[in-house]
Symmetry: C2
Subunit: 474 residues, 2 copies
């Protein structure tokens, strides 16, 4: 609990109406989209300007109060759970698109803008903001920046980091810095733009971002290929890329996920298939046409049962939406859904999926797998129940085995979800002790009092973790 | 000078044949491609493995000896001048391409591989490594990584940083870390891959890199557009991008540069033009064809005197080579050539070029300008003579004015050359005091004894700078 002096200092900055420490607010901001993690903050504050953020940071630093920046809380790594208490900083009052610069192909935004609004605004200007995390309808851009969110277009277009050209951020010492700019090239000093992107709010609070836009692709086509098994799908993925085609989307869905999606969406998906690839290409019409034909041919040569080209935009949207609804569909089956994002080099895709299946069987847990086949970014998703402690232990062991395997295959413990609190115990598996220590040194240098989102990325035995009594997220 | 004990420790690692502290070797490694900076190292060492690098770092840390990693020394920011003495670490014995992975589209290389060899090897496999710094025939990949080198394809393809997927590096504490991997997505902790890329060897010594490759574009076309003046050329650049064309190359050359190149290369360039755009597009044949036609049309609509489409590969190569030879051509004119890389948002291109012309006139110095119009990365190039101290003072003041203007326009003091020692006095202009202090904190955290390339990026009054008595670089 905050003492009265601190509350007065904070409300002097934002006014009474943008600070709260009611029980209701503290409960609302005690969790995010990650099942199994909950911890109440001491208060919730909503700054309206960079100056207010600065003043809040100064108060919090003075009193050693943790500050947890939070967008919509859609992250899946417990990245915004106030695991050491403190103030949750919410950006609903800094949610403006400040500028679209068509000449320099940039958009300047405040942290609280919803990702989908950025997409829509870009499209309205004939431009394109490619990152499309599954949560984009509710997630905020600063949330995406903090977690370096990915999405379905990673292979061809990259992830959020590839579209952040510049940042304004408040550091733990209360100083405001500006990194990068409307520049395709800038090598003046260390790349703090990329360092802050994906730093999960542990190195600075993002208060403004300059995003890179690209011309909107002229056209897009979507196709769905059905296979008897995962190996055929994975071989098709490799063959497509070997044929020098980089599709906009190359998504993989396994049979149980397919069944769950069809049960949920009822759009006539071919539930008998052992594996499905959703393929999209965008760009110039003749190139898209040629690539789609080549991809269909390759899939057939690798044993596809059938390849269905969406005949119009509605059908294409339905197919894409079906893939996007995978998490929602799976989440209906059991009380708790744990969505992971172990990632491997593309060539190891089939091996990893097989390992996930074997691991699920060995630990007697239910894991479906879907994900971004083109960039090896898999989402093994476990349907379970946090109230069943025996099962939860097996789930944790199964995921630990999956992370270890991903690292062994040259992959990583997280492709696009971030480390947060959830995956911090595994970070060293990927980076080694020296790698983690080097990152800790950077954290210590920029935030010596550990006030910025403490307990994230780096594992602490002292973390305050409350296992939820029940319920989960759809 | 190194004492005998230290020399014995170092030669115990590499043998006598890969360590030298002869006068000749110390002079050879006392400068790089940057005019006006010279300082002798205490010795030169050539490690043959990451273990040797590690052992050398441990010796140097024990004795607080600076270590300056160096490829071919082609950098233009005094980034490899041993300004505080120490050991220059040269990577001629770690120059192997270790692997081309066609399935994951990666190439794994040692630090000393020549950039052009990477380009050629990728092309031999039907793949493409886009970064093409002008020094690519002699520069090494780790030099490119340390300076985050750009090139002519920045607008469409990005810079070196965009093609570094993973690194092995030795930190100042002697630990070896591995970052990233053969992964399109990886968000496990802070992005040390991007932090080390462009860090100029001040945070770690790169000992291996995983590079990203892309499919080789099917075709390429080249055209040259002549304009009466810079404004027409700049307007054409803006109009091309507004037309949603992102060309592979969009290079600008001013009239004096054009004249110098023609004097040098004698390939019949139209020296009467006030400004020239070199335009290239690559990709699928029909798209390239359409884009080239559109760009020609746009240039004509904006007052181009003429647009000439290269009729074959030889003619295209001659045009590109002419642009690439700009620095060499200009360097013939006076004893000293200072090539800068002030960079502005693309929309500010014409304003910046005008300012450079006015500034050169005001300070009575000769500055030609060429560069990467598509990404606002200009190379104002001053032909002068370091022996003429009065003129050199005016040159320095002129460049200071140019850097200040670039920053005022939302640009940066260096787009692709790096800060090194040369631009360190200007870094704060771009980043502000708080920005520089934050970067210094990272440096201090990772290299507390300041042994890794000290005196670079961050300005020090104590730097040992010897102005060369004469000569310069072509």
């Amino acid at each position: 609990m905050l003492d009265q002096t601190i509350k007065e200092q904070l409300t002097a900055i934002t006014g009474e109406e943008r600070f709260s420490d009611t029980h209701e607010q503290r409960v609302v901001y005690s969790y995010d989209a990650t099942p199994g993690f909950q911890s109440e903050p001491d208060g919730v504050i909503r700054p309206a300007s960079v100056q207010e953020v600065q003043q809040i940071i100064n108060v919090c630093r003075e009193h050693r109060i943790p500050v947890i920046p939070r967008g919509s809380g859609t992250n899946l790594c417990a990245g915004t759970v106030p695991s050491q208490g403190g103030i949750v900083m919410v950006f609903t009052h800094m949610n403006q698109i400040l500028e679209v610069d068509k000449e320099n192909l940039t958009m300047t935004v405040q942290p609280g803008v919803i990702t989908l609004d950025i997409t829509k605004r870009a499209e309205a200007e004939g431009l394109f903001y490619p990152p499309d995390p599954s949560s984009m309808k509710i997630s905020t851009i600063a949330g995406n920046i903090n977690e370096n969110s990915g999405g379905l277009r990673g292979l061809k277009y990259g992830v959020t980091k590839d579209y952040v050209l510049g940042l304004e951020a408040v550091l733990a010492n209360g100083e405001v810095i500006r990194t990068g700019g409307k520049l395709a090239k800038d090598t003046a000093g260390y790349d703090f733009t990329k360092l802050l992107t994906g730093a999960e709010g542990t190195l600075g609070i993002v208060t403004e971002a300059i995003l890179k836009l690209v011309p909107k692709p002229e056209t897009k086509q979507t196709a769905l290929a059905l296979f008897h098994n995962m190996e055929q799908a994975a071989e098709s993925v490799s063959a497509i890329i070997a044929d020098k085609i980089i599709p906009a989307t190359l998504e993989f869905v396994d049979q149980p996920t397919l069944q769950a999606v069809e049960d949920f969406a009822q759009i006539g998906l071919p539930v008998e298939a052992g594996a499905v690839l959703l393929m999209e290409q965008d760009g110039e019409p003749e190139v898209v046409q040629r690539h789609m034909e080549a991809m269909q041919q390759i899939c057939k040569e690798h044993g596809a049962i059938s390849v269905r080209l969406a005949q119009n935009e509605e059908e294409a949207a339905a197919l894409t939406e079906a893939r996007r609804s995978a998490l929602t569909a799976l989440a209906r089956r059991r009380p708790t859904t744990l969505l992971e994002d172990a990632t491997v080099p593309r060539s190891k895709l089939a091996e990893m999926v097989r390992f996930i299946e074997e691991t699920a069987a060995a630990y007697e847990v239910e894991i479906c797998t879907f994900g971004h086949a083109g960039d090896g970014n898999l989402h093994p998703t476990c349907m379970t129940d946090v109230r069943d402690h025996a099962e939860m232990e097996r789930v944790e062991e199964a995921f630990a085995a999956i992370f270890a395997k991903a690292v062994d295959l040259g992959g990583t413990i997280t492709g696009e979800h971030g480390v947060g609190e959830m995956k911090s115990p595994y970070l060293e598996w990927k980076l080694g002790h020296a790698g983690v220590e080097a990152m800790k040194a950077v954290k210590q240098a920029l935030d010596p009092d550990n006030i910025l989102n403490p307990g994230k990325i780096f594992a602490k035995d002292t973390k305050k973790r409350i296992v939820l009594g029940g319920g989960s997220r759809g």
